[in-house]
C-alpha cells in the first residue's frame, strides 16, 4: 500500500493532499494556504496605503476602509502568520527531533482543515453583506453595534480556525515530549524545536480565553446574550481583557518561532554553534512565561487606575531583558564565525537592527504615563509592524528560503531571493519608520483619511511609496517560486553545506518515513557532530525494519466541512428559516464523521524493509 514512486494524475494528487496525514505534505498545505492569505492581506494593506497617500482621499469609502483595515489585521495574524509558522513547524520539527511523524497525524490534518475552513468562511463575508469592520481587536461596544453580518463571520470563522490552531499546538507539545529520537534530551533539542515547544504551550493557554470571548460575543450577537451589554449588567471591558489575555501571548506565539528560525540560520551560516544555547532556552521559556503577565499594557488608557498600570508597565519592561539576551547571543554566534551571506542569512542579519527598533519602541510603549500619548496612535502602528514584519515576516521569508530545498527538493534562486530581500527591506523601513513620527505628531490609528493642514501629508506619502517597494518584493518572490518550480535543479541532503541539525541528514524532500532508521543523537547539532567526525550519515539507533505508517483519511476534511456548513446555518438563523436546520445539519456531518473515526479500526500500514532499502538507494543517488 506504499505510495512510494507511484505516478499519479492531477485528481489523484488532489485526493492525496485532501486525505494526507503526512506532516511534510501538511506543511505544504499550510504554506500554500497561508501564502494565499498573506497575498490577500498584503492586497488589503496596499488598499489602505493608497487611501492614505494623500489627505481627504476618496479612493475607498469610510465604511469599506474599516472592513479592509479589520480584514488586513485579522488575515495577517490568524490566516497568514499563524499558518506559515505552522508550515515551518510541520516541515521541520518532526525531522529535527528524529521522528517519523508527529504524535497524532490525524489531528495534524484536522488542525489544518479547521484553520482552512475557518479562514475561507471569514473571507466569504466580503461577498455576503460585508466584512467585519470593528478592527482585528473587535472591541465589544463597536462590534455589537455593527449592523452587517461581518462580525458574525469574524466570531464564527475565528472559532473554527482557532480550534485548528489549538489542536495543532497540543499535537506539537505531545510530539516534542514523546517522539524525540534516542539521545535527544531536552537540552540537545535544536533552538527551533525549543521555540515550537514553548509556542505550543502558549497556544494551549492563550487560545481558550479567546474562544471564551468569541463564544460570549457569538451569544450576544446571534442568540440574545448580554455578556457585553452594560444596560443589562454586562461589561465591555471584559472583552478587552479576554482578547488581550490571548492577544499578547499571540505576539510571542508568532515571534518565538521566528526567533527559533533565526537561531538555526545564524548558526548554520556562521558555521558556529549557537552562542549561549542554555541561556537562549532559558530566555525563550522566560519570554513565554512573562508573555502572559503583561496583557493589560494594551489597556493603559482604559482607566484601570495607577496601580494596575504601574504593575503592568514594569512587568512589560522586564521582557526586554530575555529578549536582549537573545539579541546579544545571536551577535556572538556570528562573532568569530565564518559568515556566508545567503538569502536566509540576509534576512537574519537585517532582522537584528529592525527587531531591535521594534523592541525598544515596545519598551517605550511600556512606560504607562507616556503610553497615554502613544496609545492608538500611528506610533503603535509603527511599533507592532516593526515587531511583526521586522521579526515574524522576515523570519518566515528567511525560513521559506532556508527550508525550501528540504520541502520541495529545489533551491530558490539566490539572485532573485536577494532582489526580494532588498526591495522588502528598503520598503519596510520606508513604510513604517516615518509612522513613529506621524503618531507622535498626533495622528490616531485606524483613520480612513486625514485632513490637510495637520502636518501629516509628507509622512503618509513616504509610507505609501514604501509599501509599493514591499509589494514589488513580493512579486519577485512569487516569480522566484514559479521559476524554481519549473526550472530548479534537484538538490541533495545538505544543499547549504553547513547544515547542523537532523533535517539536513535526510534527502530533500525527506522520504515519507523521514528516517529509514531512527538516529542516535549524540549532542546538540547532531548532524554537525557526525560530519565533523567524517561520517556521511547518522548513527542509527535501531536495525533496519518494516516501518509502521498511518493511513490517509478524508475524515478531517469532512469534520471541518461540517463545522463550516454549520456556521453558515447559525449565522443566518435570524434572517432565514433554513438557518437553524442547516446549522444542525452541519453539526450532524461533523459528529457523524467523528463517530466513524471512533468506530473504524484503523491499524495503518507498513512500508516493508525492502521498499525502504530501495528508496534509500534512490535517495542517495539523487
Amino acid at each position: 500500500m506504499s505510495t512510494l514512486a507511484r505516478k499519479k494524475g492531477v485528481g489523484a494528487v488532489i485526493w492525496d493532499y485532501l486525505t494526507t496525514v503526512d506532516h511534510k505534505k501538511i506543511a505544504i498545505l499550510y504554506l500554500i494556504a497561508g501564502g494565499v492569505f498573506f497575498l490577500l492581506g498584503g492586497l488589503e494593506a496596499m488598499i489602505i496605503r493608497i487611501q492614505l497617500a494623500v489627505p481627504n482621499n476618496d479612493f475607498i469609502s469610510a465604511g469599506f476602509y474599516n472592513e479592509v483595515l479589520t480584514m488586513h489585521g485579522t488575515t495577517m495574524i490568524f490566516l497568514a502568520a499563524m499558518p506559515l509558522v505552522f508550515a515551518m513547524m510541520n516541515a521541520v520539527v518532526p525531522i529535527q527531533i528524529g521522528a517519523r511523524d508527529v504524535a497524532f497525524p490525524f489531528l495534524n490534518s484536522l488542525g489544518f482543515w479547521l484553520f482552512f475552513f475557518g479562514g475561507v468562511f471569514l473571507n466569504l463575508s466580503w461577498f455576503l453583506g460585508g466584512a467585519p469592520d470593528a478592527g482585528w481587536t473587535s472591541y465589544a461596544s463597536l462590534s455589537l453595534a455593527s449592523p452587517t453580518h461581518g462580525i458574525d463571520f469574524y466570531v464564527l470563522g475565528l472559532q473554527i480556525s482557532g480550534l485548528g490552531t489549538l489542536i495543532g499546538g497540543i499535537n506539537f507539545l505531545v510530539t516534542i515530549i514523546n517522539m524525540r529520537a534516542p539521545g535527544m534530551t531536552y537540552m540537545r533539542m535544536p533552538m527551533f524545536t525549543w521555540a515550537t515547544f514553548v509556542t505550543s504551550a502558549l497556544i494551549l493557554f492563550a487560545f481558550p480565553p479567546l474562544t471564551v470571548g468569541l463564544i460570549f460575543m457569538m451569544m450576544d450577537r446571534l442568540f440574545g446574550g448580554n455578556f457585553f451589554d452594560p444596560a443589562l449588567g454586562g461589561n465591555t471591558i471584559i472583552w478587552e481583557h479576554l482578547f488581550w489575555i490571548f492577544g499578547h501571548p499571540e505576539v510571542y506565539i508568532l515571534v518565538l518561532p521566528a526567533f527559533g528560525i533565526f537561531s538555526e540560520i545564524f548558526a548554520t551560516f556562521s558555521r558556529k554553534r549557537l552562542f549561549g544555547y542554555s541561556s537562549m532556552v532559558f530566555a525563550t521559556v522566560l519570554i513565554g512565561f512573562l508573555g502572559f503577565m503583561v496583557w493589560a499594557h494594551h489597556m493603559f488608557t482604559v482607566g484601570m487606575g495607577p496601580i494596575a498600570n504601574a504593575i503592568f508597565a514594569v512587568a512589560t519592561m522586564a521582557i526586554a531583558v530575555p529578549t536582549g539576551i537573545k539579541i546579544f547571543n545571536w551577535l556572538f554566534t556570528m562573532w568569530g564565525g565564518s559568515i556566508r551571506f545567503t538569502t536566509p542569512m540576509m534576512y537574519a542579519v537585517a532582522f537584528i537592527p529592525s527587531f531591535v527598533i521594534g523592541g525598544v519602541t515596545g519598551v517605550m510603549n511600556a512606560t504607562a504615563a507616556a503610553d497615554y500619548q502613544y496609545h492608538d496612535s500611528y506610533f503603535v502602528v509603527a511599533h507592532f509592524h516593526y515587531v511583526i514584519v521586522g521579526g515574524v515576516v522576515f523570519a518566515l521569508l528567511a525560513g521559506a528560503h532556508y527550508w525550501w530545498p528540504k520541502m520541495f527538493g529545489k533551491m530558490l534562486d539566490e539572485k532573485l531571493g536577494k532582489v526580494t530581500f532588498w526591495l522588502f527591506f528598503i520598503g519596510f523601513h520606508l513604510t513604517f519608520f516615518i509612522q513613529h513620527f506621524l503618531g507622535l505628531m498626533g495622528m490616531p490609528r485606524r483613520v480612513f483619511t486625514f485632513l490637510p493642514g495637520q502636518g501629516f501629508e509628507t509622512g503618509n506619502m513616504i509610507s505609501t511609496v514604501g509599501a509599493f517597494f514591499m509589494a514589488a518584493g513580493t512579486v519577485v518572490l512569487l516569480a522566484n517560486v514559479v521559476i524554481t518550480t519549473v526550472k530548479g535543479k534537484r538538490v541533495g541532503n545538505d544543499p547549504w553545506e553547513d547544515g547542523r541539525t537532523l533535517e539536513w541528514a535526510v534527502s530533500s524532500p525527506a522520504p515519507e518515513y523521514n528516517f529509514a532508521q531512527t538516529p542516535l543523537v549524540r549532542g546538540l547539532d547532531a548532524y554537525w557532530i557526525e560530519k565533523m567526525e567524517g561520517k556521511k550519515g547518522l548513527t542509527p539507533a535501531e536495525p533496519l525494519g518494516d516501518i509502521h505508517m498511518p493511513n490517509p483519511s478524508i475524515l478531517p476534511f469532512v469534520i471541518s466541512l461540517g463545522l463550516f456548513v454549520s456556521a453558515f446555518g447559525f449565522l443566518f438563523h435570524q434572517d432565514h428559516a433554513w438557518g437553524t436546520p442547516v446549522g444542525v445539519f452541519g453539526l450532524i456531518i461533523t459528529l457523524g464523521a467523528m463517530f466513524f473515526r471512533s468506530i473504524i479500526d484503523d491499524h495503518g500500514f507498513h512500508i516493508h524493509k525492502e521498499e525502504v532499502m530501495e528508496a534509500e538507494k534512490k535517495g542517495a543517488g539523487a
Binding site: G276, A310, A313, G324, I325, S338, A369, Y372
Partner: protein
C-alpha cells in the same frame, strides 16, 4: 564607565533629540511640542526612554557592523571551521545586568508619573474649587458639560489656562477616546463607567499655538472615526470666566429678519427634538441626542471638521452623510429646499453668546 560620563552622554543625547523632535508637527497638535504640565511629563518620559533606547541601538549597531564586516567568509576560507564556542558566563551576566539597570532608570519615573497623572482627588472633594468638565463622546461628536456652572456646549471645549482642568469621561453609544495630543495623553470614554483625569493648558504656549488646540477621537468607533475631531479654546482665567457668564445668561434673541424667522420655524419643527439652542439645558443626557447649538455661531468648525462658513453649513444640512458617513443626523428630518436651507443657515448663524 564613570558615572559622570554616562550622565553627560544622556544629557547631551536628550538635548540633541529634543532639538530634532521639536521640528516635528504642528504646535496645536503635536505631542512633541507639549503645551502643559501633563504633556510635559510625558514628553520628558519620551525623551528619557528614547535616549536610553538610542544607547541600546547604538551598542547593538556597533557590535553588529563589526561582526558582519569582520567575520564574513572570504575567498580561500571555504573550508575553515571556526571554533565552536559554547558561550560565556561573564558576557551573559553583563548583558543581563546592564539592561536591568537601564530599565530601572526608566521604571522609576514611569511609576512616579503614572501615579501623579492619576491624582484626581481635588475634583472629587465635596466643596471643590476646580474646573470640572463632563465629557460625553457620541457618534461622531463631543458634548462638554460644565456641571458647576450649569452650562453645556459641544465640539469646542473651552478651558482656563494655567490651572488643572478635571474631566469626567464617558461615552453614550460606543467606546471612544478623548485625546488632545499637544496637551496630554488620551483617556478612553467607556460605555460602562466614568473615567477621570486632568490636563493643564499652559498660557504662554497656548498663546503660541493660537489658543486653539486640536482634539481627536483615538478609538475606532465607526466609519467617521477619522472625522471625530474637536477643538479646544484655552483662555486666560478672566476671559474664561467671562465666557461662562455669557453662556449662563445667553437668551435667544428675537430676530426681526424674516429669513431668520423662517429658519427658526424650520428648526423648531425639525431639529429641536434633538438639538438645544441654549447652553443652559436642563434635560437629561438621554434626551440630549445631538450637539447643543447654544453658541453655534461662535464655533471653529462645521461638524467638527469643515471651515466655519455658511456654504459649508448648507452642504452639511443638505447631506450630512456625504460629509460624515454613518452619522446619526442623516435621515432624521425631511429634505430641505434651497430656500429652507438658506433660512436655516441664517438662523443657526445667529446662535451666539458673544
Amino acid at each position: 564607565m564613570k558615572k559622570w560620563l554616562r550622565n553627560w552622554r544622556l544629557v547631551s543625547l536628550v538635548s540633541a533629540m529634543a532639538l530634532l523632535l521639536a521640528g516635528c508637527g504642528k504646535p496645536f497638535l503635536s505631542t512633541l511640542q507639549p503645551a502643559g504640565e501633563v504633556a510635559d511629563m510625558q514628553y520628558k518620559l519620551m525623551l528619557l526612554s528614547t535616549a536610553i533606547m538610542v544607547i541600546v541601538i547604538a551598542v547593538v549597531t556597533i557590535i553588529f557592523l563589526y561582526v558582519v564586516t569582520r567575520f564574513r567568509r572570504r575567498k580561500g576560507e571555504e573550508n575553515k571551521i571556526p571554533k565552536q564556542v559554547e558561550g560565556s558566563h561573564t558576557l551573559e551576566i553583563i548583558w543581563t545586568v546592564i539592561p536591568i539597570i537601564l530599565l530601572i532608570i526608566l521604571a522609576v519615573p514611569t511609576v512616579l508619573y503614572t501615579f501623579k497623572l492619576a491624582d484626581v482627588k481635588p475634583m472629587n472633594k465635596k466643596e471643590r474649587d476646580v474646573v470640572v468638565v463632563n465629557v460625553r463622546a457620541n457618534l461622531y461628536w463631543w458634548e462638554f458639560e460644565y456641571p458647576d456652572y450649569g452650562i453645556i456646549t459641544s465640539q469646542d471645549l473651552v478651558v482656563p489656562t494655567d490651572e488643572r482642568v478635571y474631566f469626567n469621561l464617558k461615552a453614550s453609544d460606543v467606546k471612544h477616546s478623548f485625546w488632545i495630543p499637544a496637551v496630554g495623553g488620551k483617556m478612553d470614554t467607556n460605555t460602562d463607567n466614568t473615567n477621570q483625569f486632568f490636563l493643564t493648558f499652559d498660557d504662554k504656549r497656548a498663546e503660541e499655538a493660537g489658543r486653539l488646540f486640536y482634539g481627536k477621537c483615538a478609538e475606532l468607533c465607526g466609519p467617521s472615526h477619522a472625522l471625530m475631531d474637536f477643538k479646544v479654546k484655552a483662555l486666560p482665567r478672566a476671559e474664561f470666566d467671562q465666557w461662562v457668564e455669557k453662556m449662563k445668561n445667553a437668551k435667544p434673541v428675537a430676530s426681526t429678519d424674516p429669513v431668520v424667522k423662517q429658519g427658526e420655524e424650520i428648526f423648531n419643527k425639525s431639529c429641536i427634538g434633538c438639538h438645544a439652542v441654549t447652553p443652559v439645558d436642563g434635560r437629561t443626557e438621554q434626551a440630549r441626542l445631538a450637539p447643543n447649538l447654544g453658541n453655534f455661531a461662535d464655533r471653529e468648525r462645521i461638524a467638527g471638521i469643515l471651515e466655519h462658513n455658511e456654504e459649508n453649513l448648507k452642504a452639511w444640512l443638505e447631506d450630512p452623510e456625504k460629509i460624515k458617513p454613518g452619522n446619526k443626523m442623516t435621515g432624521t428630518y425631511p429634505a430641505l429646499s434651497d430656500e429652507e436651507l438658506e433660512a436655516l443657515t441664517k438662523y443657526l448663524m445667529t446662535l451666539s453668546v458673544e
